[in-house]
């Protein structure tokens, strides 16, 4: 409502400007000038509101000089023409109204047919003014749309920050996996009498793993190599638990080492690979992790064998969906995590826009 008021005020002002021009150019009375210009301007205001759609149909990122010129120019020329017609029409109508108002229905009187006399230069001036007003309207709408977009983008950014924070909390909650901790402690308890050195190694690995988890999860992004080291600690512990059933093969290309990723992105994948893959296989298997850069992308693939009969509790994919949500809130549509399962393997593929740590 307030917006509309402002809009009408602006057009009122335009009307006054036109009236002033007419008064100085054609030497007509202020009364006639205002009476002519203001209603026309106000009506034209509604026509010019169409500029909003013109602007929106041509978003900033799609604007090419020529195309923009043709569309905006065409729209304003057309509107200018409409404005001129409007002027003529009102000029006639206003006089008719005035006439009937002043003299009743007496149409015989031979007064002027029009409110003011529109000469040719005046027509040109009016046409130019109409076009100009329309162009001005386009400009104003453009600015308003841009401001609106900015506000929207701001809000989206704030929303995604909140989402990212939620996802982080979720990660923190899941990473303190009680199962993993208690089972590891049970293994240590068993090892103390069988193999005290292994018990100590496992204790140290466990401590390292938790320390790194805490340190890394505070950060927004970490170099891939840090996450890999975390995964290695995790695997070392799980290898003590599961023995030779669990094998791993990790290969990270040199360029990928320093690529930045959100913390705790890969470790849960490794954990899943064990929980829903290797653990079910009587013979065990190898978890393969490959990380490399290709163009502007970091690609990570994690692959693990699975039981051919998917009879066991196949994961519900919640962990992966969580990672997906996390990537979306951090990178928008630019990052991707996908997973496929065929009869023998479960494969997770991650692609993240490449950004390198500055050392």
């Amino acid at each position: 409502m307030r917006k509309l008021m402002w809009y009408l005020m602006a057009w009122l002002l335009a009307g006054v400007v036109i009236a002033a021009l007419l008064v100085t150019m054609a030497n007509i009375s202020w009364g006639a000038g205002l009476g002519f210009a203001i209603p026309v301007s106000l009506i034209y205001g509604f026509v010019a509101a169409s500029a909003f759609y013109v602007c929106r149909s041509l978003p900033f990122e799609k604007r090419q000089f020529l195309l923009t010129l043709v569309i905006f120019g065409g729209a304003s020329l057309l509107s200018g023409l409409m404005w001129l017609l409007l002027c003529y029409a009102w000029n006639y109508l206003a006089q008719a109204i005035r006439h009937s108002f002043l003299y009743g229905a007496d149409t015989d009187s031979n007064l002027t047919v029009n409110l003011i006399v529109i000469t040719q230069p005046m027509s040109v001036m009016l046409f130019v003014a109409g076009c100009g007003f329309y162009l001005l309207s386009i400009l104003v709408h453009d600015v308003l749309i841009a401001l609106d977009n900015m506000r929207l983008a701001d809000r989206r950014a704030a929303e995604s920050r909140v989402q990212a924070r939620d996802a982080e909390l979720q990660v923190l909650r899941t990473q303190i996996n009680p199962h993993f901790l208690f089972n590891s402690l049970n293994s240590i308890s068993a090892l103390t009498s069988i193999d005290p050195i292994a018990a100590r190694t496992m204790t140290l690995e466990l401590a390292q793993f938790f320390r790194q988890t805490l340190a890394l999860s505070e950060k927004e992004q970490i170099p891939l190599t840090d996450e890999i080291s975390l995964c290695r600690h995790f695997l070392a512990i799980e290898k003590i638990r599961f023995g030779k059933k669990l094998q791993s093969d990790i290969q990270v290309s040199d360029t990928a080492q320093t690529a930045l990723i959100p913390p705790m992105l890969l470790q849960p994948c490794i954990e899943n690979a064990i929980k829903h893959g290797i653990r079910d296989l009587t013979e065990g298997g190898t978890i393969t992790l490959r990380a490399m850069t290709r163009g502007d992308w970091l690609h990570v693939t994690i692959e693990n064998p699975v039981d051919i009969n998917p009879s066991t509790t196949v994961g519900n994919g919640l962990g992966l969906k969580n990672s997906q949500q996390r990537l979306r809130s951090l990178y928008g549509e630019k990052a991707r995590i996908s997973w496929t399962r065929n009869t023998e393997f479960f494969i997770v593929e991650i692609a993240i826009p490449l950004s390198i740590v500055n050392l």
Binding site: P178, H179, F182, N183, L185, N186, S187, I188, S189, A190, L191, S193, I194, I240, R241, F242, G243, R279, D280, L281, T282, D307, N309, P310, S311, T312, T313
Partner: protein, 246 residues
């Protein structure tokens, strides 16, 4: 006194080692076997009929609870688990003994003493407790276990197309194969998600997700057409039920 035969079931070698070590203090106990996963456990329980089983809950292939369900074993069980909120609550509720990993020799001995007592008794208090535990109401099944002589079939409930009641047993149809199980249809119905499985007829329970369409067969009777093409009669009350869900 007769020696007590023990079976250790755990998928982690070290966890089994620990139990072996703790058992060394009890010379009257003979370890007759060890199982690495649920299916192996089922086989060994059937073959060896041990007096006592140390049973891990979270295991590949089959969980500890499913092992009990399949073997019908109801006594002489000590559960071991690292962390399983659901199971722990259920155990506490039914006063079933369990060992929480990591556990001490003292705690282990206590559980063992308890088990000895119940093994010596002819009437086992644990039996009813385990029976109750396995039929805990309110917990929805996500897979169905079917024992077929030496084999065990595990059918995810989502893959189940329909179940038909036949005399004393039910026939479960999944992936174009049918399996027989001794259970009543109502019993199974109670364990399944009522939003996904509907009793459309006295003798039929169908999976809504496998339903293709419902057609009118006569003036006031309907028939369910499944995705596989199978037609299943719908009773009047069944029609009401299915309409409420859809």
């Amino acid at each position: 006194m007769n020696p007590i035969n023990v079976l250790i079931v755990d998928d982690e070698e070290l966890a089994r080692c620990l139990i072996r070590e703790y058992l060394r203090a009890h010379p009257d106990i003979v370890i007759v076997g060890e199982a690495e996963h649920g299916l192996d456990a089922v086989k060994q329980i059937n073959a060896l009929n041990p007096d006592l089983i140390f049973l891990d809950i979270q295991m590949p292939k089959l969980t500890g609870l499913e092992v009990l369900e399949l073997t019908g074993r109801q006594a002489g069980v000590i559960f071991t688990t690292a962390y399983d909120q659901y199971a722990l609550k259920a155990f506490d509720l039914h006063a079933i003994d369990y060992l929480l990993k990591p556990f001490s020799q003292t705690r282990f001995d206590e559980a063992l003493a308890q088990a000895r007592k119940s093994i010596a008794q002819l009437v086992n208090p644990q039996a009813t407790a385990i029976q109750q535990l396995l039929s805990v109401p309110g917990k929805l099944l996500d897979r169905i276990l079917i024992r077929d002589r030496t084999q065990v079939h595990v059918i995810p409930v989502d893959k189940m197309e329909y179940v038909e009641a036949q005399d004393d047993y039910i026939s479960i149809v999944s992936d174009a194969k049918s399996y027989l199980k001794t259970q009543s249809l109502s019993e199974l119905e109670a364990q399944l998600d009522p939003k996904k499985f509907v009793r459309v007829h006295r003798s039929y329970l169908i999976n809504i997700e496998q339903l293709k369409s419902i057609e009118r067969s006569t003036k006031d009777s309907h028939v369910a057409i499944m995705r596989s093409g199978k037609q299943i009669p719908i009773s009047r009350t069944g029609y009401e039920r299915i309409r409420q869900i859809m």
